[in-house]
Amino acid sequence: MKGLSVSKAVTALMLAGLVLLPLYSYLSGNIFILTLFTRIVILALAAASLNLIMGFGGMMSFGHAAYLGIGGYSVGMLAQEGVGSGFIQFPVALAASAVYALVIGALSLRTRGVYFIMITLAFAQMAYYVASGLARYGGDDGLTVYNRSDFSGLVNLSNRTQFYYLCLACLFGVIFLVWRIVNSRFGLVVQGLRSNEQRMQAIGFPAKRYQLACFVISGTMCGLAGALLANNTDFVSPAVMYWTRSGDLMVMVILGGMGTLFGPVMGAVVYLLLEEFLSQITEYWALIMGPLLLLIVLFGRGGIMGLLGRVGRG
């Protein structure tokens, strides 16, 4: 039980830090840190959505960045066509992600294991090429979002602090949802399928339908992250869907601790801060990051959450 309390304490500390960050940024006048953490919170949301299928559902999707692009392009394309209202943009982003997840999931879930990894990867790459081919929306060069989503005075996305808190609220909302899902009957079935699909099927659960539903929920959540990300960068390009992005999201989940509620958030914070830190030391930061990943895989079972658990147990 003591192990649990250490990881709980660190999690609580991190969450408090995230909530109080704008205050620090205001007091120290460090605006950069707020921008950095807005990005971290958005990608943490994406990682949390990936964790739902990967950590709890056992579906190793290597194409999760596609939803970042779909959510982002929904916002960007609507903005370009003169639809600036967030009340339209965001639902469209979520719906588009859900539809994509439904189609891709229905096809990919016919396979398992390595096939599933490769197929989700290939479909995301297809989405990347399709976006590159959209000449009307910038093609390869991407699309500038001139006006952030307009929520008619409810929240102002151009205000850094309000936007940050909107993203944080979305993150907490998604984590709450994941928590509710994981502990519901539906979530228990999905986790049962991860452990032993044949047995679950033998007791009469339609395995694929449960997994597909979970896949769609996860994709929709990640679409939300995409819509926020496009607002954060005022820009969306095919690069956001590139497969290394999906790899980044996977690394965040694993680094933090797969199948834990707050692990992905922890992973996103650590991974992106590390990236920021290393890139300030050297231009060739990936030269250190790459082997570091290898070492984490070789020696770091269970990610940061697992490590904290072990520290707690002594």
Binding site: M60, F62, L107, S108, R110, T111, G113, V114, Y115, I117, M118, I119, L121, A122, F123, Q125, M126, Y129, V130, S132, G133, L134, A135, R136, W243, T244, G247, M250, V251, I254, Y284, W285, A286, L287, M289, G290, P291, L292, L293, L294, I296, V297, L298
Partner: protein, 305 residues
């Protein structure tokens, strides 16, 4: 007619190159059960080595041979230092660790060769057009790629099916504990197989280098195509990889060449020119989706699975 023959040969040539890449990937997966994302990095390293060695020695052929050796050695070193420890681990671990290796290789290349791409110029005797049919000429170099790749495919087939090492490799694929118990040095065998896969990737990279520029990340896009091929062909099956690679190479090349004109027949000009680039790059993924619906295990699944 000329265009059709030319594009057909281009498709064949691209397909054969993809086969060299996919063969290594599927061999390593089939035998060591290792998912190696860094396979594309070996392809890139092959191209960089070739460009460097060719510039040093002043000879394209000598440079290519040296590059082949260098990729083989690199593959062996990589296996012994890092990847060996991943055997028997979860596939997800493989994906992450080799993802880290990709980051490392891309950055190492940027550090050593700089961010700008390199060019690998062809010797004069490979640039002449060769008459293949009356009135139809085809570049000698592309023809050479087809010949070399076919030869390698044949050697690979004979090597795996007819030699003692090949027999051990097949035995290792079907039951690794058993051949270990029979006194075969399985570690050495794995290292050899990985080195072979690396050399095949390097060969594909160095042969592609004169056609495209040698640049960072060149292995990543083509790696995804190799994945599509082994999914279509059935993981672990070299025969499947061969047929699927030719198929994918053809469809991709012919699709890009003729789809725009075909679309223009059915759609209005503007709609066709918008849809064509997106559709032709989607083509092979659509093909993969169809294969998955009909045969989830791939067209030619390896018999042991």
């Amino acid at each position: 007619m000329l265009l059709v023959v030319e594009q057909f040969l281009n498709g064949l040539q691209f397909g054969l190159l993809l086969f060299l890449l996919a063969a290594g990937l599927t061999l390593v997966f089939g035998i060591m059960d290792l998912v190696n994302l860094a396979h594309g990095s070996l392809y890139m390293m092959g191209a960089y080595f070739a460009a460097t060695f060719a510039a040093w020695t002043g000879s394209f052929l000598l440079g290519a041979l040296l590059a082949l050796g260098a990729t083989l050695v690199l593959g062996i070193v990589l296996e012994m230092s890092a990847l060996r420890h991943l055997y028997g681990r979860d596939h997800l671990d493989h994906v992450l660790a080799t993802f880290g290796l990709i980051l490392f290789f891309n950055e190492a290349v940027r550090l050593i060769w700089g961010p700008a791409g390199l060019a690998l110029p062809l010797p004069a005797w490979l640039t002449v057009p060769v008459p293949i049919l009356p009135g139809i000429h085809y570049p000698a170099y592309r023809l050479a790629i087809i010949v070399v790749a076919l030869l390698v495919a044949l050697l690979l087939y004979l090597g795996v099916m007819r030699t003692r090492i090949g027999m051990l490799i097949r035995a290792g694929a079907s039951n690794r504990e058993m051949i270990g118990a029979l006194g075969i040095n399985i570690k050495l065998l794995y290292t050899l197989v990985f080195g072979l896969g690396a050399a095949l990737a390097g060969l594909a990279g160095l042969m592609q280098a004169p056609i495209l520029t040698v640049q960072i990340g060149m292995g990543e896009n083509i790696l995804i195509l190799a994945f599509v091929i082994i999914v279509i062909g059935g993981i672990g099956s070299i025969r499947g990889a061969f047929l699927a690679a030719i198929f994918v190479g053809m469809i991709d090349t012919l699709g890009r060449a003729f789809l725009p004109n075909l679309l223009r027949e059915v759609l209005s000009g503007a709609a066709a020119s918008t849809a064509a680039p997106a559709l032709s790059s989607m083509l092979i993924y659509l093909l993969m989706a169809i294969v998955l619906v009909v045969r989830p295990e791939g067209l030619f699944p390896a018999s042991r699975r």
